[in-house]
């Protein structure tokens, strides 16, 4: 792999292969913890940490791990880093720990991480793997934030806990409830689909 593609690999995860909007992976945390922007951001950061470090370790060990038991090995490596994050968040902020709940443990079964491990980290050098993982992790944070911000603004009239519209604002409560998650993500996907279509139309007329 030439050096010019290194940056491309990094950017790919953020935009062209965005895990939330393009690949539609890791749906469970995306919908469950994005009731507020701060929850979304911390969940994204925790996932980014696990993603980068497990991809790094898997990439370092890629020649030692026997092919037959690779998935099991990946899962154990990922679970190790998730345990680290789990205890770290518990120590840093108990309030955040309660807000994210079981979904911190559930990072283990996030398909984005296992997908990256299998598709990229097991075939590339540690540096490349980490870069790619960082890109995908940032892409995931963007996805989570774009849901968290919309849901918090509409559902609570706040952004990062700061009130936006004054006391007279009637919050659109359904947005922070489960159905809101489905609707907001559905709308985002619709917007991206419409945009993609316009781009294609433009290209075909030229």
């Amino acid at each position: 792999m030439s050096t010019s593609t290194t940056l491309e690999q990094f950017m790919e995860g953020i935009w062209k292969q965005n895990p939330t909007f393009v690949m539609v992976l890791g749906m469970c945390p995306t919908l469950a913890v994005t009731t507020s922007a701060i929850n979304a951001l911390s969940m994204g950061a925790a996932t980014l940490f696990v993603l980068v470090f497990s991809c790094w370790l898997i990439s370092v060990m890629r020649n030692i791990i026997p092919k037959e038991v690779r998935i099991a090995t990946y899962v154990v490596i990922i679970a190790t880093f998730v345990t680290v994050v789990d205890y770290a968040i518990q120590a840093i902020s108990l309030k955040l720990y309660d807000a994210l709940g079981a979904f911190i443990s559930l990072i283990v079964v996030n398909c984005i991480i296992l997908g990256r491990a299998e598709a990229h980290a097991s075939k590339n050098t540690p540096l490349n793997a980490m870069l790619n993982a960082t890109g995908v992790g940032i892409g995931f944070i963007i996805g989570l934030l774009s849901l968290g911000v919309v849901r918090e603004v509409l559902g609570a009239g706040k952004l990062f806990g700061v009130s936006l519209f004054g006391a007279n604002f009637q919050p659109w409560v359904v947005m922070v409830l489960p159905p809101g998650g489905f609707f907001v993500l559905g709308c985002w996907l619709l917007i991206f689909a419409a945009w993609e279509r316009r781009k294609q139309k433009k290209e075909s007329t030229q």
Binding site: V24, L25, M27, C28, P29, L31, A32, A72, V75, V76, A79, T80, V82, T83, D86, Y87, A102, S105, L106, V108, V109, C111, L114, V174, L177, P178, P179, G180, G181, F182, F183, L185, G186, C187, L189, L190, A193, A194, R197
Partner: protein, 193 residues
């Protein structure tokens, strides 16, 4: 949470706290396998079975881990147990119902990464469920998952006959449907524990 009766938990997790529509667990199969009714139902039943086996194993394992003061290994050992349980289900299905085994295909091993399974194991530990409570919670969760999957598959089968604009077809439409189903299930809020 500990004084909730097992029956309350059972009903609550099927309707009010439905795994898919209220807690957002197991969305991948919910969006992926819900295209046709005859694959949604077996998938739901297989997942229910894995959840049950995993719950029982995790219960025993947790006692052992607490005894040995090894609580920090909980997550790692749970995921290994779940992977083994899925393997077990795969072997049983292959032996007794090869047709079903082929129909489920790739989705069977993917039950390992279904968050509902791990959630049940983690949740019963953090809430200190008794064995009966844990069992009814796991069974109810599985039934709720199957219910959501079957409802979704039925709606989507109907939608194939109607004229949907091409723009909204695909995941966006499934998500909107999920939102509407989730709205309906909010009506059950307060039922059960």
């Amino acid at each position: 949470m500990n004084d909730v009766s097992a029956f309350q938990l059972f009903i609550g997790v099927i309707l009010a706290n439905n795994f898919v529509l209220a807690t957002f667990l197991g969305l991948c199969p919910f969006l992926g396998v819900s295209g046709r009714l005859d694959s949604a139902l077996p998938m739901g039943i297989a997942t229910t079975f894995v959840i049950l086996v995993a719950s029982i194993c995790a219960y025993g394992l947790n006692i052992l881990l607490v005894m040995l003061n090894l609580e920090f290994l909980r997550l790692i050992s749970y995921i290994v147990i779940i992977a083994s349980a899925v393997q077990l289900v795969e072997m049983v299905l292959k032996k007794y119902s090869p047709t079903l085994f082929r129909a489920l295909g790739i989705y069977l091993p993917l039950i390992t990464t279904n968050c509902a399974v791990l959630y049940v194991a983690v949740n019963q530990t953090s809430n200190n469920f008794s064995f009966v409570q844990a069992l009814s919670y796991a069974l109810g969760g599985g039934i709720g998952f199957t219910l959501a999957l079957v409802l979704m598959a039925s709606v989507r089968e109907r939608l194939q006959l109607s004229n949907v604009p091409t723009l909204v077809q695909g995941t966006a439409l499934s998500l909107m449907l999920g939102g509407i189903l989730s709205l309906c299930f909010m009506g059950f809020a307060g039922v059960g524990g």
